[in-house]
């Protein structure tokens, strides 16, 4: 059989295959260059960037849980200006689209970061994190309220012509409401899910394990929740979805695609298997071949029936 078509279109970002990286788990790409040739990926999504540099939260910032990981990094990053100066040249040297994940404490900050990225060039997409559970101001607060989520979306959209992907939080009563609001506000695509708010306690010290008390849960443990969110949002809105949350294998990724994701991001699994992205891509391709499916797009949402 001929090689199947793996290319997907995420709100105008053309990916040669549906596999990308989850923001914050793959640094700026180069960290994994010994293990993964970035140009084989569908796209590269890089660490969350803010207008000003951020130091991040107190340590410990990570704790393992059954089949999961809690993190409270707190958006440590060198700021958008540094990113533009030091990383964008590298992004420009890549043959695959680079998506920059952005965060802000105010709507204006989101817009300002987007505008700077727009001017810098070399950025194929902006993923707007309105779902970070690890920052005091902004973050998840924006993503929990459909109206505020829409406001951020509008502000970012009007600051850039780069495709805008809104990243949703699972820590809400009804994720479809937020999805509908940001779709109406002009989002080009959606990413879901960000981490689930969680915590761990050390029974020896009798204090929270993480320096920041609460953290975000990711990894295989959250996969059923993430998959459900993709399933619900696929039904509710027409936008392309980047599905993520616990994807470690091609089988996991295929579940997300069948639920309605047009692309998938590998996050925590990179820590376990630095070749996870590539193996997921290869496994998807194998599945298509074995099942005689010529085009990955025919599989998106297929579990919903006709």
């Amino acid at each position: 059989m001929l090689k199947p078509n793996l290319a997907v279109d995420i709100g105008g970002i053309v990916m040669q295959n549906p596999v990308t990286t989850a923001s914050g788990t793959f640094g700026f790409g180069r960290e994994y260059s010994e293990y993964v040739s970035i140009n084989e990926l569908g796209a590269l999504v890089v660490k969350g960037t803010t207008l000003y540099p951020r130091q991040g939260n107190a340590v410990p910032r990570i704790a393992e849980t059954p089949a999961g990981v809690l993190n409270s990094i707190g958006l440590q990053n060198p700021g958008v200006d540094y990113l533009i100066e030091h990383y964008v040249p590298f992004f420009k040297s890549l043959q695959v689209p680079v998506i920059v994940n952005i965060s802000g404490e105010t709507v204006e900050e989101y817009a300002a970061v987007a505008e700077k990225l727009d001017k810098a060039g070399g950025v194929a997409g902006i993923e707007v994190n309105i779902s970070c559970p690890n920052v005091k101001k902004g973050g998840m607060a924006f993503g929990s309220d459909p109206a505020m989520a829409a406001e951020v979306t509008k502000a970012v959209k009007s600051s850039t012509t780069i495709p805008v992907i809104i990243k949703l939080s699972p820590n809400v009563t009804d994720i479809t409401k937020v999805a509908e609001a940001v779709a109406a506000a002009g989002a080009d695509a959606l990413s879901l899910i960000n981490t689930l708010l969680g915590m761990a306690i050390d029974i020896t010290t009798r204090r929270p394990v993480l320096g920041n008390v609460m953290g975000g849960l990711s990894g295989p443990a959250v996969k059923p929740v993430a998959l459900r969110a993709v399933w619900q949002v696929y039904k509710a809105v027409e936008l392309p979805i980047i599905g993520m949350g616990g994807i470690s294998t091609a089988e996991d990724a295929l579940e997300f695609i069948l639920a309605g994701a047009a692309a998938v991001a590998v996050g925590t699994a990179n820590f376990v298997n630095p070749r996870a992205t590539i193996e997921v891509k290869q496994g998807i391709e194998r599945y298509l071949i074995e099942n005689g499916i010529k085009n990955i797009n025919d599989l998106i949402g297929a579990a919903h029936g006709n």
Binding site: G56, V59, A67, V69, S248
Partner: protein, 259 residues
């Protein structure tokens, strides 16, 4: 690199301590002292993350890497069940190791407990390079004094200290240092944070450059996730550095010991 190394030997050397040897020419070739490998313990999602373990020995000729570890929790417990012939899933060598001194320098190496793990590899290289090495090993009890024989075999003079007096000096290993430090050009240390802090204090007092190997909980091990941050002072300002890539070895004077 990412590879499956075949276990050659694996033994319980004392209490909860295990010594494991596996085959990997590439890793042995590439490894430097103070670097570590990131090990997958078990084949399932629980435990999920890899565990950082220092490179204890690297035999470039035979292509053998040795790890010395303590069973601390569920990851290392699963590790301890592996048998010769099994394949160990490792990433490495990772991190910035120790900077070697000039061959003429006199060196003090201070280990606390399992902290001796990365220091054996260092001492071996120091001896081969012709450095004058004085080794200090402290631990809770005589049972927790590890690798002593191996180090003595290298011809190095080893001073011991135990908290309970069951071997060597009865007290902290750092008590043994002051009188000696005036005579050394460089210090290397790895062990519990308070011990390394004392060593750093003494090194500063006697104005001897010192390198310490820090520990922090890790995610990726390659600098991508920013989980393993530690506070390093640069021009008086404290900034976060990644233990996995900018460390685990840092200059003692740069570490923010109050964090």
């Amino acid at each position: 690199m990412l590879l499956n190394g075949k276990l050659i030997t694996h033994k319980n050397i004392a209490g909860d301590y295990y010594l494991m040897e596996f085959k990997s020419h590439e890793l042995a070739e590439a490894a430097g002292p103070g670097q570590f490998v990131h090990v997958k313990c078990g084949s399932t999602n629980d435990p999920l993350l890899r565990r950082p373990i220092s490179i204890h020995k690297a035999d470039k000729d035979k292509g053998i890497i040795a790890l010395l570890y303590r069973v601390a929790g569920k990851g290392t417990r699963l590790l301890s069940l592996m048998e010769p012939g099994d394949l160990l899933d490792v990433m490495g060598p990772l991190g910035n190791g120790f900077q070697l001194p000039k061959p003429s320098e006199k060196v003090a190496v201070v280990a606390g407990g399992i902290g001796v793990a990365p220091l054996f590899f260092l001492v071996q290289l120091l001896v081969n390079a012709g450095n004058d090495v004085q080794m200090y090993i402290g631990a809770r009890t005589s049972q927790d004094l590890l690798a002593v024989k191996d180090i003595k075999k290298l011809g190095v003079d080893v001073k011991l200290a135990t908290d309970d007096g069951s071997a060597g000096y009865h007290g902290l290993v750092t008590d043994l240092l002051p009188e000696k430090l005036q005579k050394v050009d460089r210090i290397y240390t790895c062990g519990p944070f308070p011990m390394m802090k004392s060593v750093a204090y003494l090194a500063n007092k006697y104005n001897v450059p010192a390198q310490v190997s820090l520990e922090e909980k890790m995610g990726c091990g390659v600098g991508a996730c920013l989980a393993c941050s530690c506070k390093i002072k640069i021009n008086g300002e404290s900034v976060y550095k990644r233990v996995c890539t900018e460390g685990p070895v840092f200059n003692a004077g740069e570490v923010d010991w109050e964090c």
